[in-house]
Symmetry: C2
């Protein structure tokens, strides 16, 4: 049975989160984008103040903490975007935040997290267990762990993007195409718009949500997964709370290659004038590669834009 | 006397244009941006469908043409953004459009103009008189010349950006900082928000509006102006209709260097996740260089984002 002992997220929770987020953040634009002659829509979450949709879930979780919990602080594990989301929400609410980040995370993400006032605790990606590092901090401080995707408040917060998109489109989207790490955004969108198809897009070799959907149980990444440029989409496995929402609800998973991702980043640069990081361009990559059906009510999530100048320049000039 | 025999643009004309433009284009986002600790606002005109604010003036001019004028078509002279604005509006209205463009315009702008269905007529930047090329086409075809800035409908159309920003801010902006070529946008903003200060920002050596404001008469660029990376901000001189609006209304002109412009492009990349072309980043460059006073009601115009991948990559990695 795909369940754990935490609260199940609900559509009411998503609607409540959407209200809370609308009170502090303007909606991100829903931009028309024509692909293969079909005019669909791109939700530009790269324009969030921290450059990624993650601020939604973080704000929804942190603003729901009790006074006592706020005083003891929060801990998060993240390669960068959830880090900035939590750090930004914590700063605004005056909550101490410690973020466990891989030592090889993009420098721009490490610096931005520190600049938001959070304490950054580094771990070595292959050698250490980041969850153990976080668990130790949680125990020492009595802090609340804010999981990047396996948390009902976080899922409901991410779902607010779906409520926003529906309002901007003036109708229920036919489908959401979502970049997928652990499945927090995809689960939130599934709850937000019960009639929309949900397509999860993952990097080649890291399609743990797609594989778990197919198997009906949680599949973890193997011991030696391939390299991917999508640093934001590399969780070891999804969580029961995510799979329980997505099971029977999401379409079969879609996988994209690094080359397809780079092509999507170049498309966003030239046609939308947006800076999109590799992991944030996965959904667009699937759309451009013809791997998902498109129509005029399709919403493509552009989830993050935190990338350093050198990698972006190299991507732009790659042959 | 700084007047010519064309109709003077008015605030009522700007309000009318704002209504017409709101009917076809969603507002571009007004994004918070913190500079030297001051939270001001960036109007992201790079997110217009053609990647620049020019679609505003073009739409306002072309949609005001009579049926007979539409049938004979329009002619425009442009290094690229006005070209795309006119081509885009003409396509939507089914009007034939011929655009006179310099042979050395950015390739991306030439291709985009052709892709919108316009006829592109090339001239050699130093050798030929582009206005003569255009005048010949106008005469041959009985077409209407849509001037890039010296036209009351175009000025009123550009001013719609100011009405939009005022609505988004919920109050009158204290000041607009505007990238300035011939002064179409600056004049439109001056009419849109009569209480806002207007700062025109021009590239070093091409500050023809600033010089004309100081002299009280139109000053043309010299025979050998310096090179600038701001290809969108290189008119030979402003026009009487622009200077008559700005005279006594705009602040003294501000000049920015290529290096300041590149720094602004990098700032927009990293902090706003936006692709901004050199000429579109001039106003931000002035703000970042401390050349204009800033407060929480300041609106910085990011006017265009049409740049090719190779130049953008080179800018990102410049030492």
């Amino acid at each position: 049975m795909i369940r754990d002992d935490i609260r199940q997220p609900t559509r009411e929770g998503v609607l409540d989160a959407a209200d809370k987020i609308a009170a502090i953040l303007p909606p991100t634009p829903l931009l028309p984008v024509t692909i293969d002659g079909v005019r669909c829509w791109a939700k530009a979450e790269v324009l969030q103040p921290v450059g990624a949709f993650k601020v939604r879930g973080a704000w929804n979780r942190l603003s729901a903490l009790t006074e006592a919990e706020r005083a003891r602080g929060v801990v998060a594990v993240s390669s960068g975007n959830h880090a900035q989301g939590v750090a930004g929400a914590a700063k605004r609410l005056g909550i101490p935040a410690a973020i466990v980040m891989p030592r090889n995370a993009p420098q721009v993400k490490l610096e931005a997290t520190r600049a938001l006032g959070a304490e950054v605790v580094l771990y070595d990606r292959p050698g250490e267990d980041r969850d153990e590092v976080a668990a130790k901090l949680v125990e020492q401080r009595g802090a609340v762990l804010v999981h990047a995707f396996g948390d009902p408040w976080v899922i409901e917060g991410q779902g607010s993007a779906g409520i926003e998109a529906e309002g901007q489109l003036g109708r229920t989207p036919s489908r959401f195409i979502a970049c997928c790490g652990g499945g927090g955004l995809a689960a939130g969108l599934a709850l937000a718009c019960p009639e929309a198809a949900i397509h999860v897009v993952e990097p080649q070799g890291w399609d743990m949500v797609g594989q778990s959907l197919a198997a009906g149980e949680i599949i973890s990444v193997g011991a030696s997964p391939p390299a991917t440029i999508c640093d934001a989409l590399q969780p070891d496995a999804t969580k029961p709370v995510n799979l329980s929402v997505l099971q029977g609800r999401a379409e079969p998973g879609v996988v994209v290659t690094d080359e397809e991702v780079r092509a999507a980043q170049r498309f966003a640069f030239a046609k939308l004038r947006l800076v999109v990081e590799p992991g944030g361009a996965a959904a667009l990559a699937a759309a451009l590669a013809g791997k998902v059906p498109l129509d005029e009510s399709t919403v493509i999530m552009l989830t993050g834009g935190n990338t350093d100048a050198a990698s972006f320049a190299a991507m732009l000039t790659a042959p």
